[in-house]
């Protein structure tokens, strides 16, 4: 465990070379066109992206493929598949009486499956709640639509950690809801410290990410299409099914992506609303980094997460090739 986490010096050289190359390229592009090209104005952002997106990804990949001493290894991925992989080797070394303890550990896989399941539930609930809400808000005949949009946005001005902690005060056994129930003569109910509370926290936090892309695609829709459909004899249900729904599909896909991605990597909510009784993949990665100090395994888990997200993104892109859903991803 006595690991040194400083980077090898060649990484720093590589980073320096990279930045130098970038600057030279920028200068060259200015020279070649005898003036500043429009793309040059993108360079501050490009630099930002290189420093804070690409370099970290390279670092994650580096840590994931090395051990504590910086040597190449695939053990981190073996440890992902079998969470007891390392300790099993210890048991083997310690002697035959400990061989009874050797078995495959399913901690990482179990938490991943649980996270995917929770994210799926969260996405479905958000879609069921969010679509009618967006549909309602986008209706031009409803005056309060724009007020509702503002009401949806206001809570997002607050940090999500604080909003989640505020839920605690409501849901606790001695919290507001239960106090109210008891004063009305009902039994108190256990609202916190379980999966349902975690799911509630997730839906609460991610619902706007479902509503807004759908809302955007609905408001972008040409209302003449609806009139045309009705002129041609379609009733309301038919119009919705044949015109509105297909045209809002890009928004729905964008919404699903924007809810599902952060849901899978949720952390903190299980600890606060679930009382730490369950762990999600985000918590697991956090634990590997901060509690165990095992950056290599933590990076391997992050890498696996990123690959899973890339795969699902490309699947969703297939369904929405023009990226019309507000272009938010």
């Amino acid at each position: 465990m006595n690991q040194s986490l400083s980077l090898p010096s060649w990484m720093l050289w590589l980073l320096g070379l990279f930045l130098l190359g970038f600057v030279l390229l920028a200068v060259y592009s200015v020279k070649r066109t005898n003036g500043i090209r429009r793309s040059f104005f993108a360079s501050p952002y490009t630099l930002w992206m290189v420093l804070f997106t690409i370099v970290p990804c390279v670092l994650i990949a580096y840590y994931a493929l090395t051990d504590a001493n910086g040597a190449f290894t695939l053990d981190n991925f073996r440890n992902f598949w079998d969470s007891n992989y390392s300790v099993n080797q210890l048991y083997t070394q310690m002697g035959p009486e400990y061989e009874v303890l050797i078995q495959r550990g399913t901690v990482n896989i179990g938490i991943l499956v649980y996270s995917l399941w929770m994210a799926l539930l969260c996405t479905i609930i958000c879609l069921v709640l969010g679509y009618p809400a967006a549909y309602f808000m986008a209706d031009r005949n409803i005056k309060i639509g724009s007020i509702l949009v503002v009401l949806f946005i206001i809570p997002m001005w607050m940090n999500f950690l604080l909003r989640t902690i505020a839920w605690m005060t409501l849901l606790e056994d001695q919290g507001l809801i239960n106090t109210l129930l008891k004063s009305l003569g009902f039994h108190s109910v256990q609202l916190m410290y379980n999966d349902r509370a975690v799911l509630l926290g997730m839906v609460y936090n991610f619902l706007p990410f479902m509503v807004f892309p759908i809302y955007t695609s609905l408001t972008k829709m040409d209302s003449k299409l609806l009139e045309a459909a009705q002129d041609l004899g379609a009733n309301h249900l038919h119009t919705f099914w044949r015109v509105t729904a297909p045209l809002s599909l890009p928004g729905v896909i964008s919404g699903i992506t924007m809810v599902f991605m952060p849901s899978v990597t949720t952390f903190f909510i299980p600890r606060i609303l679930g009382g730490g009784n369950t762990m999600m993949f985000g918590d697991l990665i956090e634990n590997r980094f901060l509690t165990e100090g095992n950056w290599n395994l933590g990076s391997a888990l992050s890498l696996i997460m990123m690959v899973l997200i890339l795969i699902s993104l490309s699947v969703l892109r297939k369904a929405d090739p023009e990226g019309e859903g507000g272009g938010m991803i």
Partner: protein, 345 residues
């Protein structure tokens, strides 16, 4: 009550900003959450003109990872015994120049050459305490004497466990009659099975650390695994609560003040340690956080109220049945693996 938590979170957000001071007149302190008197910190700045950058951690393990990764960010750190041992072993600490810490004379001499720091060069004791059960006497009928209540089906959904590897597994080991520092995977496996059964039986309400004391005051659960100071804090706010160190024995610990080898402001760090060892300041801290102080002169200042309090000043008989955590070195890998199995069960 919630304010404390929110404040802490805000503090954590601020912590993310690069705050480690390079300038003179700064000391970067890394301490446990809710573990010092703000008045004492203000007084330190007032008397010395040194600005305190105060940062928090929740468990020893979290602290160790942060100090390993950026040792130069901290000038004074407050680890527990076994972690000090670990840090000495990893060569992370710098010896303290005791010429700059004259107030060391007030510290209990029995604690100056402890097993975790045999030469006594690296640490100055700050507080000590025990691990035990905080329970609500209106919800638990008979006086608690054994760890067995934590595994009793009767208290379904009524127990807060501590979200801390060594404490949780240590208690299960102790209940089974093993040492809290075991290096026998079979014993550890038995403790793991016990904790998984406790969870599957629905006895555990939540695993948490800093939230527990306020929730116990509010009556959210009947029993909780806590540190003695948190217990005293809660008892002070809710007289229905009581604290006990079970008969099977428990963990006794000392948190020391240490200076990382890479500290940028060593002189200020020594000044800070000396200040915290001053009897009146030790008393301020003790009155605020309710842990036991190793400062003999401070105990005299506090008088009977402190001496008669069994939570803060346990009898020799209680102390004798407790054991220190030792650094288990690479064996921690097995503890970590088993802990995740419990948490994800």
């Amino acid at each position: 009550m919630r304010n404390r938590l929110i404040c802490t979170l805000l503090l954590l957000l601020v912590m993310v900003l690069p705050s480690a001071g390079l300038a003179e007149g700064v000391v970067n302190v890394f301490n446990w959450e809710d573990y010092i008197s703000q008045d004492a910190l203000d007084l330190f700045t007032e008397e010395t003109g040194i600005t305190v950058n105060y940062m928090n951690f929740t468990t020893n393990e979290d602290m160790l990872v942060k100090v390993r990764n950026s040792p130069s960010s901290f000038d004074v750190v407050f680890p527990s015994d076994y972690c000090i041992e670990r840090m000495i072993h990893e060569d992370l600490l710098s010896p303290i120049d005791f010429a700059n810490v004259p107030n060391l004379q007030y510290i209990d001499h029995n604690l100056l050459n402890p097993s975790y720091d045999p030469t006594g060069e690296y640490s100055v004791p700050y507080m000590w305490g025990t691990v035990g059960i905080l329970y609500n006497t209106t919800l638990v009928a008979s006086p608690v004497t054994s760890w067995s209540v934590l595994f009793d089906q009767q208290y379904q959904n009524n127990v807060f466990m501590m979200d801390s590897i060594r404490d949780c597994l240590g208690v299960a080991l102790k209940y089974l009659g093993y040492s809290m520092n075991t290096r026998d995977p079979l014993e550890l496996n038995a403790a793991k099975d016990l904790l998984i059964k406790q969870k599957k039986d629905g006895i555990v309400k939540a695993y948490q650390v800093d939230e527990t004391k306020d929730k116990m005051v509010a009556g959210e659960a009947a029993l909780a695994l806590v540190w003695s100071g948190d217990a005293q804090y809660a008892i002070d706010l809710n007289p229905d609560l009581a604290y006990v160190v079970p008969d099977e024995g428990s963990n006794i610990w000392v948190d020391g003040m240490v200076i990382p080898k890479a500290a940028k402001n060593k002189a200020n760090a020594e000044l800070f340690i000396d200040f915290m060892s001053r009897p009146d300041v030790a008393q301020m801290n003790c009155n605020e956080i309710w842990y036991s102080t190793p400062n003999v002169a401070a105990i005299e200042l506090m008088g009977d109220e402190y001496r008669d309090n069994l939570t803060m000043n346990p009898t020799q008989e209680i102390v004798d049945r407790c054991e220190f955590f030792l650094d288990i070195q690479d064996f921690i890998q097995i503890y970590n693996t088993m802990w995740l199995e419990i948490k994800s069960a």
